[in-house]
């Protein structure tokens, strides 16, 4: 997915949900549906990676905040 650099998580998630609904309606020709499905899998992988990265950052920041605090909660 070459455009992934500019794509936001929300855009990808929105498109993924649209694709799933389109597939579930089952009205598209088979070839086209297969293409949609592949696209959906790509979007899913992208969203998953973004979420994992975000969670990693949150935990990292939380750990750092915890460490920078003196044990008694008072300023040095």
């Amino acid at each position: 997915m070459t455009e992934s650099a500019e794509r936001t998580f929300e855009q990808a998630q929105g498109e993924l949900e649209q694709i799933v609904e389109q597939l579930e309606r089952g009205q598209a020709p088979l070839d086209e549906s297969l293409k949609l499905w592949e696209r959906g899998e790509e979007l899913y992988a992208f969203c998953r990676a973004k979420l994992d990265a975000a969670e990693g950052r949150v935990e990292e920041l939380a750990r750092r905040a915890e460490q920078s605090r003196p044990p008694d909660g008072k300023p040095a």
Binding site: F9, Q13, L16, E17, I19, V20, L23, E24, G26, L30, S33, W37, G40, E41, Y44, C47, R48, L51, A54, E55, V58, A62, A65, G73, K74, P75
Partner: protein, 408 residues
């Protein structure tokens, strides 16, 4: 009283200095006795002097007049006056003729009593209120975290201890600058004004606490002094006033931005409680982490639902297509069979109709067909003659007969 004599000159009336002073003195001495109010300053009393001197000063604008009083009379009053005290002097104007010095000759002196103080306070209060000094819209909010807190208080006062202890216990890193002054007596007002001014010289003083513990009505008077009230109102930073007890309302309380009922209450007003600040910060911090985790979890679940449906799709799609294909195949196979069946049914239907229409069916019910010798079916009696031979067909078999009678 000596008569004022003019010096003899031709064309003008000329007086000696002594005569002039004497004349003015005589004229002044005819003025009535009056009460004059002011502050005692520069009191001079000596055992060797027959007269006591002091200057009576108007606290409002500094106007002054010299006062003289016979020492015996002064001592008899047992007033024990000191500089700065406010008094009412009953006397008349008098000229010290030797030097043309105008004096107020006191006949009696009364210390300014509580009643007089009250009346004077009410007047001052009304004047300052009319000027808008006590107006709500003048009140400024206190800073949330003052860089430095100025405290004006007595040097040994419990009030000072209460304010400083409260500030330090609530907010240990607080910076407090104490200006100690007289908080009662005649010199207090000017010192308090100076102390407020000195504190405000420090650019990082963001709030001033003016405090004094409880005391008598007279003790608290400096805090109603016009100079102090104006200094409080004009203070460049907000002022918290905590003077006397709950029921006392010195005028500086009205001019201050916030009035505190006690020194401890004043301390609570000027700084937040550090432990509570930390608590709030911790709660906000915890909430922050919780919030971002919850948001991530929400996104993750939403993505998982999409993924489940997406991953289920290929299997479902293939199943659906297979099913559709099988149905088509079944229909394909059934088609010829159905076609034959349909034709057979149509044929049977036709056959049944054929049978229903056959004359044999009629014969079965007992009818017979009569044919003449020529082979024609006889439909009426006139077609047949007596003695003629006819063939009769029955449902089963037939007979040949000869006609015996014909009925038309």
């Amino acid at each position: 009283m000596a008569k004022v004599e003019a010096l003899p000159y031709d064309d003008r009336t000329v007086y000696s200095v002594a005569a002039f002073n004497g004349g003015v003195g005589q004229w002044l001495s005819r003025l009535p006795t009056v009460w004059v109010e002011g502050e005692v300053t520069e009191l001079r009393r000596h055992e060797r002097w027959a007269t006591v001197f002091f200057t009576l000063k108007d606290p409002a604008d500094g106007s002054s007049v010299g006062v003289t009083m016979a020492r015996g009379r002064f001592d008899a009053l047992r007033l024990d006056l000191s500089d700065g005290e406010r008094v009412h002097v009953f006397g008349r104007p008098e000229l010290y003729e030797q030097r043309a010095e105008f004096k107020l000759r006191a006949l009696t002196i009364e210390r300014f009593g509580a009643g007089a103080h009250l009346a004077s306070l009410e007047r001052l209060k009304a004047t300052l209120a009319a000027e808008g000094l006590f107006a709500d819209e003048r009140k400024r909010p206190l800073p949330f975290l003052p860089r430095r807190i100025g405290v004006v208080t007595g040097n040994d006062a419990a009030a000072k201890r209460d304010v400083v202890t409260t500030i330090r216990s609530r907010f240990p890193p607080a910076s407090v600058l104490v200006a100690e002054t007289y908080v009662q007596g005649p010199r207090a007002a000017a010192e308090i004004v100076a102390a407020i001014g000195a504190l405000c010289e420090h650019p990082d003083v963001d709030v001033v606490v003016l405090t004094r513990g409880g005391g008598s009505f007279e003790d608290l008077l400096p805090f109603s002094d016009e100079r102090v009230v104006r200094a409080v109102a004009e203070c460049p930073v907000p002022v918290v006033s905590a003077v006397g007890h709950e029921q006392d309302t010195p005028l500086c309380d009205l001019a201050a931005d916030v009035r505190a009922s006690t020194p401890t209450a004043a301390g609570k007003l000027v700084v937040p409680e550090l432990t509570e600040l930390y608590g709030r910060l911790d709660r906000a911090h915890a909430g922050l982490a919780r919030g971002v985790r919850r948001s991530l979890e929400h996104d993750r679940q939403r993505l998982a639902r999409s993924a489940d449906r997406l991953h289920a799709w290929p299997r479902a799609a293939v199943d659906r297509e297979q099913h559709r294909l099988e149905r088509t195949r079944d229909r394909l196979r059934l088609a010829p069979v159905l076609a034959v069946e349909r034709k057979r049914a149509a044929l049977e239907n036709t056959g049944a109709k054929l049978v229903a229409l056959s004359p044999l069916q009629t014969l079965e019910r007992g009818y017979a067909i009569v044919r003449t010798e020529s082979g024609d079916v006889a439909a009426s009696a006139g077609d047949i003659s007596v003695g003629e031979r006819v063939d009769v067909t029955l449902a089963h078999g037939g007979i040949a007969a000869r006609v015996e009678e014909v009925t038309e």
